[in-house]
Symmetry: C2
Subunit: 412 residues, 2 copies
């Protein structure tokens, strides 16, 4: 039988071991992260499993089954600096509990193989490269672009990896782990306010939203704030301010779209000068690829209109984008059933943040994620929280989902 209280105990133990008063400090490739991984290895001692680290530092724990077809449950032990007590590690420790209970239920030999993966460096907190391990696994990693990345102290990603016994030249060999994977499940905290607002403890994730991330620069003219009449100004901030407000109705046309101007920089940025140049960032997300493309087009047209109105010019430069990644419809249905059986009610929602599951789903591996309610929508800081009762429900529901997925794999 699955024991959700043991998951809470493990979470508390890990928190005591790897947090300080500012929060969790399990930044990937750091001594505290390695300590968390060593602690986790200890937890495997009495289980009938094989475990190893792949070429990219992902930790694979395998409970061999009667078939080589494998169900994989994954998440990550690494955290952002000053992180919360649940982000990532909930999924790994819940997965450990499912593996433990399946080993017991099937006397060490379930109908199909069950594997647990602790992905390396999901957060990208130190080198700015999220989903490091899962993208190496998926073959979507760009070694040459990433090997020269440095942290604040100037240490390269390559050197940090070498310290952890990983050779950046060979991380693509992690793709060998893809073999025989029949399905992938991931439990994560929502990190948003939707389930709390709906008073639901658990939800099925439909997929991860596509992201369009752009740098937008308005060029006007820097002039003296005291001597330049209002009507002759070419105020780059005014154009950017109009765009900051306009992206909101653009996003609100669609129920799940979001659009965010997260950074604005003004140049020269002094109290006595009209802003001559304004640099802003835009991040837009939606689960529907055509909705996302439409939003981007509308924002771009609006920026050109505002630039014209303010007699400025505007330039767009892409920072990064990713297409929406929908999860597997049959696994979505199984997840919905598992949640309803556990909590009485479910909800379907997309994930705004990216997760390792997106890299797995891109390969065509049937994938689904389950979200558990976050309190106040907060994450990536020590105020991140979820009620302990909801954590327990999540473990029970994940166990139900794993059982259903094993059955589904056998029937394919």
């Amino acid at each position: 039988m699955v024991d959700p209280k043991r998951v809470l105990q493990n979470l508390d133990e890990l928190r005591a071991l790897t947090s300080d008063e500012q929060g969790a400090q399990r930044v990937a490739w750091s001594p505290i992260w390695l300590k968390a991984r060593a602690w986790f290895e200890e937890k495997l001692k009495d289980l009938p499993v094989e475990h190893h680290y792949d070429a990219a530092g992902n930790h694979w724990v395998t409970l061999s089954g009667q078939s080589e077809q494998a169900l994989v449950i994954g998440s990550h032990l690494d955290s952002v600096p000053n992180g919360g007590w649940l982000d990532g590690c909930l999924g790994v420790l819940a997965g450990l509990e499912i593996l433990t209970s399946l080993a017991n239920e099937y006397n060490g030999k379930p109908p199909c193989t069950v594997r647990l993966v602790d992905w390396a460096d999901e957060e990208g907190a130190r080198f700015g490269r999220s989903l490091f391990g899962s993208s190496a696994f998926a073959g979507s990693h760009t070694i040459n672009a990433d090997r020269a990345r440095t942290d604040r102290e100037g240490t390269t990603l390559e050197a940090a990896l070498r310290n952890c016994g990983i050779d950046v030249e060979h991380i693509d060999e992690a793709a060998t782990e893809q073999k025989n994977i029949a399905a992938y499940l991931e439990l994560h905290i929502e990190q948003g306010p939707i389930l709390e607002k709906l008073a639901k403890s658990l939800g099925v994730v439909q997929g991860t939203k596509g992201v369009e991330r752009w740098a937008i620069t308005f060029h006007g003219q820097e002039v003296h704030s005291g001597s330049t009449p209002m009507e002759v100004r070419r105020d780059a901030l005014a154009a950017a301010a109009k765009l900051a407000l306009e992206i909101r109705p653009i996003a609100r046309k669609h129920p799940q779209s979001v659009a965010t101007m997260g950074s604005v920089k003004t140049f020269p940025g002094i109290v006595t000068a009209v802003v001559g140049r304004c640099e802003a960032t835009l991040d837009m997300r939606d689960l529907d690829v055509s909705v996302l493309a439409g939003m981007l087009r509308e924002a771009r047209e609006a920026s050109e209109r505002f630039a014209k109105e303010e007699r400025c010019s505007v330039q767009w430069s892409k920072i990064w984008s990713i297409e929406p990644i929908p999860f597997h419809p049959e696994l979505i249905k199984l997840c919905e059933d598992a949640i309803v059986e556990t909590a009485g009610t479910s909800e379907q929602l997309p994930s705004g943040p990216l997760h390792d599951a997106a890299e797995v789903a891109r390969l065509g591996i049937p994938t689904v994620m389950m979200f558990v309610q976050s309190l106040n929508g907060l994450s990536h800081n020590r105020a991140e929280d979820t009620s302990r009762a909801h954590v327990e429900q999540a473990v029970v529901a994940l166990h139900r989902l794993a059982a259903k997925t094993i059955e589904w794999i056998q029937q394919r």
Copy 2:
């Protein structure tokens, strides 16, 4: 006779001596500024004048007249880094030409004393304290607030002054120079686009606008840009963007008002987070004290309304303010006459930027300024320019104004 071409020659000579390809480099208290002042002293050699530096580093050149009542013509040789070829030094070198021609016209003894002052550190470019010398002269200097100011290298204002032979403890003694001053005139480039737009070469300055300068901080909530629906956000940037746009109609209600948001800073200021805190600056100016107070009140009320709409809070913190300083009505009339006689047409306009003349006028000394047209409204960079014909007209008009003012002083 006044020789306006000699002023142009001197301007060219000073430019060659104290500029590089980035523009003028006569930053106060620097070796290049001292070189400019030494060059200027050479120009006095053949004139029947006494000259000395006062306790604050202002340079006074005195042509004694039949009466001790003194007409003072002033401006400044210091520049911002990468400055223009006219800002400040035009007024000093035009003043030198007037002094020279008056000495000739009256055989070294005009009806009243005529003095020229080169104010020290008008720009405040290095230590952020504008009008240094003229405020010491006017007794409005705040020694204790300013002595600890440092430049980028950490040098204190006090130490920089000591290097130039000035003891910060005694700068208030510059006030002794106030004795017998009957009128003050200052010629300056407009640094704005108004005269050019009206196709007028010269204008009378009605006074310097009052300034209200504030730091405004909106507090919202930092949340994840991917997981937080639009309708639950508390976006501090949105509130600031509304204010950036609203200050414009507030200023446009009054023909000469200006309002500028020159700096916006976003926190955490990253592409993936809704702005939790937004810091902005506001600078508002008008010549009418009640108009200025009304604008400030409207902006403040608007900011509170926008904060409420966005479920943010807002704080205002004063950076600095100064009341409007009107110039002397009779000198304004004399200046108008001098300009019309020279250029055929004149214009009255307020000064948005502050000038040393404002410190003099605050003392109750009858004061007026004359503006010469700037091209494209540009200043404080090497693109600053004025047509050479307009510079010549300005010198002729200033000479006429000086003659009229000497007559006016005698008749009082």
